[in-house]
């Protein structure tokens, strides 16, 4: 992370989930939309406090899955017509026999596309240079707000008053 430029701001650390959620809601009520919250495991309470809409990753799953289905049937139909060979008395284009590979490729391309979606949408965070603390993967909740020196003092005070157990400035 050292090679990335650090975004100036204030990083607060919380032990209590209710305190962290209240602080996030207060910041959002003040119009801050650039908050980054760190936590160790999926939490509905924190997700609600952050106020995100449903992830668009589902579109990647849907489009990937449909691509797999169409590609599988198109491949099998084209290959069977390209070199027609009667097998077991079945028609050249035997749709029921193609369902298995149609299903498998739906799942395969759907899963690959879902993972691509996650990485495309969210795995570039570290390049933004947001300050991070290793305790956030353990038992702390982190709230980072980008701020210049003039705003940082007020934010530090706000975090301390709210009940943050640790407040540090990133510059």
């Amino acid at each position: 992370m050292a090679r990335n430029k650090v975004t100036p701001g204030v990083l607060a650390s919380f032990e209590h989930i209710d305190v962290a959620c209240d602080t996030i809601r207060t910041l959002r009520a003040k119009g801050r939309k650039d908050i980054t919250v760190f936590y160790s495991h999926p939490s509905h309470e924190l997700e609600e406090a952050c106020g995100h809409s449903v992830s668009p990753v589902r579109l990647f799953t849907l489009i990937g899955g449909l691509t797999g289905t169409i590609a599988a049937f198109a491949m099998q139909i084209w290959m069977n017509r390209n070199w027609p060979l009667l097998v077991g008395g079945k028609p050249i284009v035997a749709i029921p026999a193609f369902v298995v590979i149609g299903f498998e490729l739906t799942v395969l391309i759907g899963a690959l596309s879902t993972l691509f979606g996650v990485f495309f949408l969210s795995m570039t965070l570290r390049h933004k240079g947001v300050t991070y603390d290793g305790r956030f993967s353990d038992d702390r909740i982190g709230v980072f707000v980008p701020a210049g020196p003039e705003q940082a003092l007020a934010l530090e005070k706000m975090f301390r008053d709210a009940g943050a157990v640790e407040v540090q400035r990133a510059a």
């Binding site: 760190f38 160790s40 952050c50 992830s55 060979l85 395969l108 879902t114 305790r135």
Partner: protein
Amino acid sequence: MAVIAQPPPTQTHADVTRDVVGTLSPATRGYTLMLFGAVGLFLVGVVTFTLILRDGLGLAGYQPPIFWSVFITTFVFWVGIGHAGTLISAILFLFRSPWRTAVYRATEAMTVFAVMTAGLFPIIHIGRQWVFYWLLPYPNQRYLWPNFKSPLVWDVFAIGTYLTVSTLFLIFGLIPDVAAVRDKMSGWRKQVYGALSLHWQGSDNQWRHYSRAYLYMAALATPLVLSVHSVVSWDFASSLIPGWHGTIFAPYFVAGAIYSGVGMVLTLLIPLRRYLKLEHMIGDYHFDNMSKLTLFTGTILLYAYGMEYFVAWYSGNTFEQTTFWRRAFGPQWWGGWTMIICNAFVSQLLWFRKIRTNLTSLFVISIFINIGMWFERYVIIVSSLSNDYVPYAWDIMTPTWADWGILAGSFGWFGMWFLLFAKNFPIVAIQEIKEFIPMPRKHAAHTGHH
């Protein structure tokens, strides 16, 4: 049936991280011995395979008309083992079953390594292993495309998809946990785990997409679990061999696969929880639930075995009747009875709670399950091929040292990967365990949140 309630969480979030990261500490003597044992067995397999490469498949016990025998038996056995992992990690995730959290990572790893093991067998089984790539579906020299109406081609796609998706599912689930390990490490280990975690930081934006994606991956993997062994069963059922040509095969194979998979989970987890000091995380509650799953699938097998014999008798088809008569009273009766006793009857002992919560008896039962399920595939494959429509061609086969050497090697290969994984990656899912532990609050919780 008595239910063991989910024990209330006694650990904090920090305890969970500490305990799971603690499993990555230097190996105990017991672990090292198990690893050496696995590597030793693997080397037996390597030597046997080298001799097969040099001298040919004649070293194995193939005997006309039995050209599918121990290698294909072992292939189906390992594919079956691979079923419990994704069942527990994906299907039980969708059902929000809380007992899966402590055990699903181990079962998922087991799945990946079992399917990796299974993938070796088509290569070992073919006569000229150096042209193994002919198994892949691509046009041959006459530009003839693969036969997409053949179950064997379906199988290539089914196993390939299952291996890919279950591996991705395992790696995807590992990302936040590997990041938690990274944050507890220092020096080069921190660098390595940092790279493996893809520099995950657990930000709100990451969790938002990650949680949704995990749900969709589970939804995609769920029908996949049920489809894979169905497709494997069609390798047999869509042929005309007596004993194979049955519509019951797909559900019968899927139930058997889950049964064998949970059996192998028990075989692995009972010693491993002791060597990795995870007794407080994987306890009676988890073993009780796994036992009930074993009992359920074992009972389906009891029904399926009974139904196979009933249909053979009721059909009035001489060939079917002969095949099933010979399974029970023919020259290889011992295989047929081993399968029925180990699978259909031993599993019924799990009706008793005392047995479900006694780890010694559970471990012994799990060994019977492993043996029984290997024999199930042996009986289905070998006994059916040994007596088809022409009694003149009937014969029996006896496995040779080469068959047993490859079988032993497959256990070594699987065990080696599993043990290496258990010592280098979190074998218990840190983030999912934490989900079930309430986070500390300063004020009493108010309603409206969950």
